[in-house]
């Protein structure tokens, strides 16, 4: 059985029909997402094509320095992208950057140390990309929720500070809900995986002609790895970001400050 398939540019172009359908639905129902769909389509094409060539070079060179450089760039862009989803969190860039770096380094370090994957470009690049991508989504969701919750809970948080609680104690219920928001999507999709959706890696391997049992095992490893990485990312992002809502004197900052 072949383990690789050849996809022609024509086949990729044909799949754009579904993008047109998405844009049409948005236009018809006035969802106002046509521009975003267009940007997403162009960006995905350009970015994936570029990364495809980059990965090809990195696989051929097979040096860990290049892998490290690529993952660093991913962490940086991931933090910048997630920041735009966390507009209500003051100074969200550094918490996000640290969250993605810690999640990526600890998760990849652990799977290599446990012997799940070998420390080579062929494994670290795709797994690292998935880990950082999912960590980015989770931390962006968590900080988005944190920003909304902090704004909605100002009165309760100030009333708690007024009792002499620390910023950490006053923000604790809010931080807990934000962390939960960041983690819940992957936890839920992990619960239903195989029942109502097939995850991407498994689909890709099956399409590429791999044995279903191999596809399932690799998918399970990745799901469990991702569970770890999104938890670490959401935890680090929320724990670092909530402090930015408070002054050193444990006062809630003004929203526009």
């Amino acid at each position: 059985m072949s383990t690789s398939i050849h996809v022609t540019p024509g086949e990729v172009a044909a799949s754009l029909a579904l993008v047109a359908l998405a844009a049409a639905i948005s236009f018809w129902r006035k969802a106002d997402l046509e521009r975003d769909i267009g940007i997403a389509t162009v960006r995905s094409f350009v970015q994936l094509t570029a990364i495809g060539y980059a990965i090809k070079l990195i696989f051929e060179a097979d040096t860990l320095w290049l892998v490290f450089a690529l993952l660093t760039v991913m962490v940086l862009f991931g933090a910048l992208t997630a920041r735009s989803r966390a507009k209500r969190v003051p100074g969200s860039f550094w918490p996000l950057l640290i969250a993605l770096a810690v999640a990526g380094a600890s998760t990849l370090g652990l799977v290599v140390a446990l012997g799940v994957f070998e420390a080579s470009a062929r494994y670290l690049v795709p797994v690292g990309g998935m880990v950082i991508g999912n960590a980015m989504t989770a931390s962006a969701v968590a900080l988005n929720r944190l920003g909304d919750e902090m704004a909605d809970s100002r009165a309760r948080i100030e009333a708690t500070l007024a009792l002499g609680a620390s910023a950490e104690e006053a923000a604790q219920p809010t931080v807990r809900r934000a962390l939960r928001s960041g983690m819940i999507t992957l936890v839920d999709s992990t619960k239903t995986t195989g029942l109502i959706f097939f995850p991407g890696t498994m689909v890709g391997m099956l399409l590429a002609g791999a044995e279903p049992t191999d596809a399932v095992r690799l998918q399970l490893i990745l799901l469990y790895t991702l569970l770890g990485s999104v938890s670490i990312a959401a935890l680090v992002a929320t724990l670092l970001a909530y402090r930015n809502f408070f002054t050193p004197a444990e006062q809630l900052r003004e929203p526009d400050a």
Binding site: A155, E158, A162, G164, E169, A249, E250, Q251, E254
Partner: protein, 224 residues
Amino acid sequence: MLFELRDVSLNRGGRTVLDSFSADLPAGVTAIVGPSGAGKSTLLRLLNRLADPDVGSIEFRGEPLSELEPRRLRREVSLVPQLPALLEGTVRDNLAYAAHLARKPLDCERSLSLAGLDPEFAGRRVNELSVGEQQRAMLGRALAQEPAVLLLDEPTSALDHASRDAVEAALMHLRRELEISLVLVSHDPEQARRLGEWVVRVEAGRAIAAGPAAEVLPASGSAP
């Protein structure tokens, strides 16, 4: 002197909230009275360091407020905000949390009684309470910390007459029972007259008069 404020100014969002505000607040019951938007609530927030002034100085019992550790200060000078903001759970949970923060033993029954609430409210969930009951539960929660000073921001603004009278009676009872000072913000001169021993009148972020209630507030029924 309990609090001494000298040339305190504060801007928020490009607006002057307090403008060279100077006043002395003695121990006892001080009523800060003035129209909406005069800066009264902001003043209370400064007194327990939920905010700091841009310029000017505030002293608490002769010590600069900026040199006091905020958490310790807030347990001693407890603010009850205008809108009830209790934590989820029961009234007892809220009182227990406050007592725990202040490292004080919890006497739930006594704190609720002092706040004018029947002790049977202890087991009630906060989302089952009326606004007036929540307001008194907030007062009870602050009292569970056994503070030296209570800062009360419009404690009866959301209440009907009967609930207002109950809260006012509870405050007067408190003053008699405990060695506690109250700083009370109100837009209602009549309430300031009923409760305040010392009155500070505030307009447009400035203290325009301060002194014993009978001197500062015009006689009831006369033009302001």
